[in-house]
């Protein structure tokens, strides 16, 4: 048992954060009918309260909080652990999932006679399953446990992508499932190699015992490649645009805003928490280069899409690319790593809110116009101003213009790349911002033009309110106080290892 595995006060909250959605899923199965929807939405305030309580506890303790399941500490038992970033990600999940749920109520309503429909039943249960899986991803301290969470995440996300049952969504979902499973196999192989080499899969114990060995090399490569496939990092993105663009809007919001961040979070856990002792040179450059390629490729492709949802989906590929700059910019113990780390995490948060808001708004556009072809948007912004305001504010964050979380992220990442002398990432960040401005302009400029337009139906007020709120959060992230970044720094591995001999 390492010091990082000693259970702390408040640790039980972590178990509750997983148990709450899990219990919700079981109850939904048992009760059926209208209950899955009621439980999914009714449990949201409790999930948020729990996430905030965990955040408060981490902030108060000033170090990660730990819980040993069944009182057994690793290597015998399994530890749950939450540092600053996990706590914040729990809060983000507890905000975005219910937002998607609120938006989805009229789309996935149970008929008035209370008869259960396959569509509604699947949607509300899978939404809860995503919460449960993400909760495990964010607080688990064990690589096998994390594998289970990843599988759960995939098996919840794939039905969400094809919940409407249309042939093209089924094909896209199948593609998604197959590629995600290949990724899972790679991850599982790597985890098995690590277990063989060290006899444990507890993250803290592994980090302590870590030493270079051929098995570790193979494990690191396999697990990372598997996770990249699940994160849709270019050039492993083939499944993302069809899956995210064809899913119903609330599902797209959760898939693009949160689900891809799950496997990214694991990649960060792997390299920053398990393997930092590995003298790997060049891995950060490889991940940074792939991320940069993703930024350029995704942005250019977004510029070329005729449909709004496809454009937003390709923009996700670009925005995921930025995330991987955290590897060259926050690795090791240097003066700039705090900046790189905070910038990377801020990018996760800003993109989660901005992209969820934009997918929800895109759904409203589709409902009101009956299509989402950008070249037929003329006059749409006049007819549905709040929806396009949401797209604009989300776009503001994607471009990295102030005030927005996207700007804060870009400022920090740029600062880290200059301070570390890695100019090339700064160029990527600036070019990506210009390209993003290009595709946001493509959405807004035609819509703002003066032209007559006929709406099939006015946009739903509640849907507009939810989407706009998410976009406003993305903007508000630009005003985060310094204390917030201190919270993100709690448990940041470079600080922890810097103190070790």
């Amino acid at each position: 048992m390492t010091p990082a595995d000693v259970p702390t006060a408040g640790g039980a909250l972590l178990a509750l954060a997983i148990l709450l959605p899990a219990a919700g899923i079981l109850a939904s199965f048992a009760l059926g009918g209208r209950w899955p929807e009621r439980i999914a939405l009714g449990s949201a305030p409790f999930a948020l309260a729990l996430a905030l309580a965990i955040t408060g506890e981490v902030w108060r303790a000033g170090r990660p909080i730990v819980y040993a399941i069944a009182g057994l500490s690793p290597p015998l038992g399994i530890a749950l652990r939450a540092d600053g970033v996990s706590a914040v990600m729990l809060v983000v999940t507890a905000l975005i999932v219910p937002a998607a749920g609120l938006y989805a109520r009229p789309l996935f309503a149970t008929p008035p006679d209370g008869r259960e429909t396959r569509k509604a039943f699947t949607f509300w249960i899978m939404l809860q399953a995503i919460s449960a899986a993400l909760a495990i991803v964010f607080v688990s301290g064990d690589l096998f446990n994390l594998y289970v969470a990843l599988e759960l995440l995939t098996f919840a996300a794939v039905p969400l992508a094809c919940v409407e049952g249309k042939p093209e969504t089924l094909a896209a979902a199948l593609r998604y499932l197959l590629f995600a499973l290949v990724g899972s196999i790679f991850y599982l192989l790597g985890a098995a190699l690590l277990y063989g080499a060290f006899g444990t899969l507890d993250i803290a114990l592994l980090a302590e015992r870590m030493r270079p060995a051929p098995a570790v090399t193979a494990a690191a490569a396999l697990m990372t490649a598997g996770l990249l496939a699940k994160t849709a990092l270019f050039p492993l993105h083939l499944w993302l645009p069809p899956a995210h663009a064809n899913a119903p809007a609330p599902a797209s919001a959760v898939l693009s805003g949160l689900v891809v961040k799950g496997s990214f979070f694991l990649t960060v856990r792997l390299w920053f928490y398990v393997l930092p002792a590995l003298p790997a040179i060049g891995f950060d450059a490889i991940l940074g280069a792939l991320g940069s390629a993703a930024v350029l490729f995704g942005s250019v492709m977004a510029l070329r899409q005729p449909r709004l949802k496809l454009l937003i989906a390709y923009s996700t590929i670009a925005q995921i690319g930025y995330l991987f700059l955290i590897f060259p910019l926050a690795a090791g113990v240097h003066p700039w790593t705090a900046m790189g780390w905070n910038g990377g995490v801020m990018q996760v948060l800003a993109h989660a809110f901005a992209k969820a808001a934009m997918f929800l708004a895109a759904g409203l556009v589709y409902e009101s116009l009956g299509h989402d072809r950008i070249d037929k948007f003329a006059g749409a912004a006049r007819a549905m101003p709040l929806t396009f305001l949401t797209l604009g504010l989300g776009g503001l964050s994607l471009m990295g213009l102030p005030p927005s979380g996207g700007f804060a992220a870009k400022w920090l990442l740029l600062g880290a790349s200059i301070a570390s002398g890695q100019w090339v990432w700064a160029l990527v960040l600036l070019a990506g911002g210009l390209l993003a401005a290009g595709y946001v302009y493509r959405i807004l400029a035609p819509a703002l033009a003066r032209a007559p337009i006929v709406l099939k139906a006015p946009p739903r007020r509640a849907g507009e309110a939810v989407a706009l709120t998410l976009a406003l959060v993305a903007v508000a992230l630009g005003f985060m106080p310094d204390a917030f970044f201190r919270l993100l720094d709690i448990g940041r591995p470079a600080l922890a290892t810097a103190g070790l001999p």
Partner: protein, 538 residues
């Protein structure tokens, strides 16, 4: 005073922001739009207070905001606020021209940015207000579906975003070069001369603010945009908006420490721009485009003055340059209003044409106009050598360009797609007189009026105008032999290059199609795994 100043400073941004917020509340919207012309009043009061009682500042660490108003900024803030008020009250409030709600929001956002750049005192606040004065301005003209307007809007937006990208890079370098982690502008600029990133930062600063000022080769968007912009918006953008670039250079160039190479390079760029604007401007038939090229030329003179000051290490330059720019705020704003009035065809030639001519020649430094004082203020910056000669020659060029403008002014109606608001005809002479007289009230803050009024100085001001008159006469006889240069000149080249670049996109489509096939994706996955294994190998 100790409390009043900071309160006014906060209100400078808060009051327009409150008007903006009210636009989103249906119950208050109409009231807010009717009274929006009052939004810049706190800024005017703040500027007046700062001029009278010296600089003051305000910092709100919780909002990561710090504001400061010193003499150069107060001069520019005062006249910019006046211009926004005058145009807002005299033109926009007219019942004949009900304000489109989208335009109203763009108007207020641009206004906040335009006033904000003069008071922002830290990198992040400055970047925010600078983005506000640049990007929402697109909405002041680009809602019009006419193809030429749409094109101007695209070019404007591309240039604004390019400038933002340059500045973001510059600001990151400035922040990285400040050893104590301060983001306040005076701190980062003080650290700039010894920063390891000095040259890159300076290049980006000049490129970023130069894009806003229309310095060659980033000049094309300016005449293009002004030609497409309705009169009220063109007046505030050309008058107040462009000065965001001027205050940017004033704030971010390390004036006071001689940087000879950089100073001379900037001065050369400025003079090239000053003459380039005149040369292309005289080929333009549209008076609004002529004014656009005149702005390019005038901003070139300002850049040249700042370059000379940078080379000489002249810490006193900001106030003088700000006075020169303040005169341009008033005159250019009033000139655009004159174009609107003349295009409404309600103006009889005669006395009014004379007023317009005096106003136009103010930009060339016609004695006894405000422009004469502006030349007097900028003169010490150019010294007595070659630069002084070039500066005088640029005045002659301005006179030539402005005479060309005056000749084209009666034809303004041919080029106005949208009818100008009616009240312009009644309102513009007041604006013109204000622009001629106000500089006299402001000059005592930067120099002594008595010194400027000697006979020798009057002659100094007069001969470039006479020379310009001669040139204009020569030009008029050669008018049909002049080349026809499209509005925006080199922007055509930029657009062609951009169109060629777009063709690369097809390559990306093929790449996407290739990686969408399973064998390629599987190979990519294996290749990544192998590359990572190679990197992680012991």
């Amino acid at each position: 005073m100790s409390l009043l100043g900071p309160i006014l400073l906060a209100a400078t941004l808060a009051v327009p922001a409150a008007f903006l917020a009210a636009c989103f509340v249906p119950r208050w919207r109409d009231e807010a739009l009717a009274w929006q012309w009052l939004a810049p009043v706190p800024a005017l009061l703040a500027a007046a207070a700062a001029l009278v009682a010296g600089p003051f500042d305000l910092s709100a660490p919780a909002l990561k905001l710090s504001l400061r108003l010193d003499l150069p900024a107060a001069l520019l803030l005062a006249v910019s606020a006046l211009l926004w008020i005058a145009v807002g009250a005299g033109v926009l409030r007219a019942p004949a021209a009900p304000l489109d709600r989208r335009v109203a929001v763009s108007w207020l956002l641009t206004l906040i940015g335009s006033l904000g750049v003069f008071v922002a005192d830290d990198l992040l606040s400055f970047y925010l207000v600078y983005a506000l004065v640049s990007i929402p301005a697109w909405g002041l003209f680009a809602f019009d579906p006419a193809p030429e307007t749409q094109r101007a809007g695209r070019v404007y937006m591309a240039m604004a975003l390019l400038g933002e990208a340059f500045l973001l890079a510059a600001f990151v370098l400035l922040a990285a070069g400040e050893p104590h982690g301060s983001l306040r502008i005076p701190d980062v600029v003080a650290a700039l001369p010894v920063s390891p990133w000095r040259d890159a930062a300076l290049a980006l600063i000049v490129a970023g603010f130069g894009a806003k000022m229309g310095l060659v080769p980033l000049n094309g968007w300016m005449p293009l945009a002004y030609a497409a912009t309705p009169i009220p918006a063109a007046a505030v953008l050309s008058g107040a908006g462009v000065k965001a670039g001027v205050i940017g250079l004033v704030r971010f160039l390390p004036l006071g420490i001689p940087l000879v190479g950089w100073g001379e390079a900037l001065a050369a760029l400025g003079f090239v721009t000053a003459f380039y604007g005149v040369l292309v401007g005289v080929t333009q038939p549209n008076p609004k485009a002529v004014l656009g090229y005149s702005s390019v030329s005038q901003m070139g003179v300002i850049a040249a003055a700042l370059g000379m000051a940078l080379a000489a290490g002249d810490a006193g330059a900001p106030a003088l340059v700000a006075f020169y720019a303040a005169n341009h705020v008033l005159v250019k704003g009033a000139l655009f209003l004159a174009v609107g009035a003349f295009s409404a065809r309600g103006v009889r030639p005669g006395l009014w044409s004379l007023l317009a001519l005096a106003l136009a020649l103010s930009l060339a430094g016609l004695p006894l106009t405000g422009g004469f004082l502006a030349k007097a203020a900028s003169k010490p910056l150019f010294g007595y050598g070659f630069a002084a000669l070039l500066a005088a020659a640029s005045s002659a060029g301005s006179a030539l360009l402005m005479l060309h403008f005056s000749a084209r002014l009666p034809e303004a109606w041919r080029y106005e797609a949208t009818a100008s608001p009616g009240p312009l005809v009644r309102f513009w002479p007041a604006a013109a007189l204000g622009a001629l007289v106000l500089p006299w009230l402001l000059f005592p803050f930067v120099g002594a009026v008595g010194d400027a009024l000697s006979l020798a100085k009057l002659w100094d001001g007069l001969w470039p105008i006479l020379l310009g008159g001669l040139l204009a006469y020569a030009l008029a006889s050669a008018a049909d032999r002049l080349p026809r240069i499209p509005v925006g000149d080199t922007i055509v080249v930029g657009e062609a290059a951009f169109a060629r670049m777009l063709r690369v996109g097809a390559l990306f489509d093929r790449l996407d199609a290739a990686f969408s096939r399973w064998p390629a994706a599987a190979l990519a996955l294996l290749a990544i795994a192998l590359a990572l294994a190679w990197a992680a190998a012991p």
